[in-house]
């Protein structure tokens, strides 16, 4: 684990020295939050819309923006850069565990996601959104978002390791569109059309979004929260298993 932490520190330093890669991760999700609220807030007034639990539509949209931010990780693109530049081979020539090479960047990705998720929530709070589940809810909210950011970045890293191409990795990153939009993004699942509801039910991001949303809108409702964490845990385990296999057989 020490090796992974040392490599994580290095990746974090890299992120801090490349602010141009982090700043859009904060501003684009906030932009979409403003736009989505601007377009739909009148349709769903807080006072008469049951699924908003007395809050404004911004509170309902906040988790979508957090998940969007979590999908903007730059670990995979930095990795491709490192493969192309030869530093990746330098790391592979050291006796560190192969898993540490993968985990290092993911630790940094998790730390960055914690910070960005916290900032997005703080901006939301400044505009009147409240976290109904309190301080513990806030912690669970940003931790779940950061864990999803790690899992998503991990899958992108697998693509980077397999393709060794920035273009291919970038294109693969577009999968966040179906992942994010085949969800109860604008309304709860029971208000979706039947085909959309089926698609959302099969989409793991749905359960993470519903967990985040319950933390924002209602007090600690453990069923969706546990389900959200369980989905991230299973996806994380799959991601780690594939990552380790891919880096061990990397030629």
């Amino acid at each position: 684990m020490t090796d992974a932490l040392v490599l994580g520190q290095r990746a974090l330093r890299e992120g801090i020295r490349t602010p141009e890669a982090i700043v859009p991760t904060l501003f684009i999700p906030l932009f979409f939050l403003v736009v989505n609220v601007g377009q739909a807030a009148k349709i769903f007034p807080g006072s008469t819309t049951a699924f908003l639990h007395g809050q404004g539509y911004g509170a309902f949209q906040l988790p979508s923006s957090m998940l969007l931010a979590a999908s903007f990780g730059s670990a995979a693109l930095f990795l491709v850069e490192e493969i192309e530049g030869g530093y990746f081979d330098k790391l592979r020539a050291t006796p560190v565990r192969r898993s540490a090479i993968v985990l290092g960047r993911l630790i940094a990705e998790g730390a960055k996601a914690l910070l960005i998720a916290s900032l997005i929530v703080l901006v939301g709070l400044a505009f009147g959104i409240t976290i109904a589940s309190g301080v513990l809810g806030f912690v669970l909210l940003v931790v779940l978002t950061a864990l999803w950011a790690v899992v998503y970045a991990g899958f992108m890293q697998i693509i980077a390791l397999k393709t060794r191409s920035a273009a291919a990795t970038n294109s693969a990153g577009l999968i966040f569109f179906p992942l994010l939009f085949l969800t109860p993004n604008f309304v709860p699942r029971d208000l979706l059309t039947r085909p959309m509801e089926i698609a959302a039910t099969f989409n793991p991001v749905t359960y993470i979004m519903e967990a985040l949303r319950s933390l924002v809108l209602v007090d600690l409702a453990w069923e969706p929260i546990v389900l959200g964490y369980l989905v991230v845990a299973v996806a994380g385990a799959i991601m780690l298993a594939i990552s380790i296999r891919v880096i061990r057989t990397y030629d």
């Binding site: 490599l7 330093r13 020295r17 030869g86 330098k90 020539a93």
Partner: protein, 282 residues
């Protein structure tokens, strides 16, 4: 294809006793949907401890592929290799602890400073934070980068990057140092500096396995060398013996050069036209 000529010089007593690198029938095959490429086709090598061994060959001959197999970075399709007495295929981590690697691309992280890169490298070889700091200072001094230690690597010149790469390969005081074309793209002054470093490192007891396209470099630095062409070793021996053998075999009136040996070994000839040298395949 010319026959393999092996002109091996016996190692001086006391200096060379055990093999630092041994390869038997080393093969690397790349398979794709369209075809199969045999990059290395059965390489046998023996590098004695304490030697500077040169590994020469034209572009695409299999030099870098061989080095990557010996340094655990590529899987071995067939054959076996031992480095520092350890089996590369079976004990890759143990091999990694005993070797230093500076590859063709001078693989460095441009966003770190020279000092940060060396400290990180030390930490990855199990040095404590303090030990890694101390070692970084020593190495920066060794490669004359102390003044640039806290500048980001992206601002370094080509020569500085090569020297830093060399330093990073030495962090853990390896038994065997692999240098893949360490002076490619460098100006003559930087090249000489790298040569001095290689000599200094070797004098401290490190075996150096060096690939190069520069025959003068091999002549200057290497105790022994092998020439690889089309994935096979076509010559092996000391530079002096290889030159003498060629002179004798071709009945040359002048001294043979390493260029002559290389061209003879790889089946290439030179045609001098109006003062220009053109290289053509025989």
């Amino acid at each position: 294809m010319p026959e393999v000529t092996s002109v091996v010089q016996r190692a001086p007593e006391g200096r060379r006793s055990a093999a630092a690198v041994e390869a038997e029938g080393l093969v690397k095959t790349y398979r794709s949907r369209a075809d199969t490429v045999e990059a290395v086709r059965g390489v046998d090598l023996r590098v004695e401890a304490g030697e500077v061994f040169g590994f020469l060959g034209p572009n695409g001959a299999g030099k870098s592929t061989t080095v990557k197999m010996l340094t655990t970075l590529l899987s071995i399709t067939a054959g076996r290799a031992r480095v520092a007495g350890l089996d590369v295929g079976r004990e890759p981590d143990a091999v990694r602890r005993r070797i230093g690697v500076a590859l063709q691309e001078a693989g460095l992280d441009p966003r770190q400073t020279g000092r940060e890169l060396l400290v990180l490298q030390g930490r990855l070889f199990d040095l404590s934070a303090r030990e890694a700091e101390t070692r970084a200072v020593e190495l920066l001094e060794l490669v004359e980068l102390t003044d640039a230690a806290d500048r980001r690597i992206k601002g370094y010149s080509g020569g500085m990057k090569r020297r830093l790469d060399l330093a990073s390969a030495l962090v853990h005081e390896p038994e065997v140092l692999f240098l893949d074309e360490p002076t490619t793209g460098l100006d003559p002054a930087s090249r000489l500096t790298v040569w001095d470093e290689v000599r200094r490192i070797n004098e401290r007891g490190t075996t150096v396995f060096l690939t190069t396209q520069y025959l003068e470099e091999a002549d200057q630095l290497c105790d022994r060398l092998a020439i690889i062409d089309d994935g096979r070793i076509v010559r092996e021996g000391t530079p002096a013996r290889l030159k003498a053998e060629l002179r004798e075999r071709l009945g040359l009136e002048r001294e043979a050069t390493l260029d002559d040996v290389f061209l003879d070994a790889t089946g290439r000839t030179r045609i001098h036209v109006a003062g220009e040298v053109q290289e053509v395949s025989a």
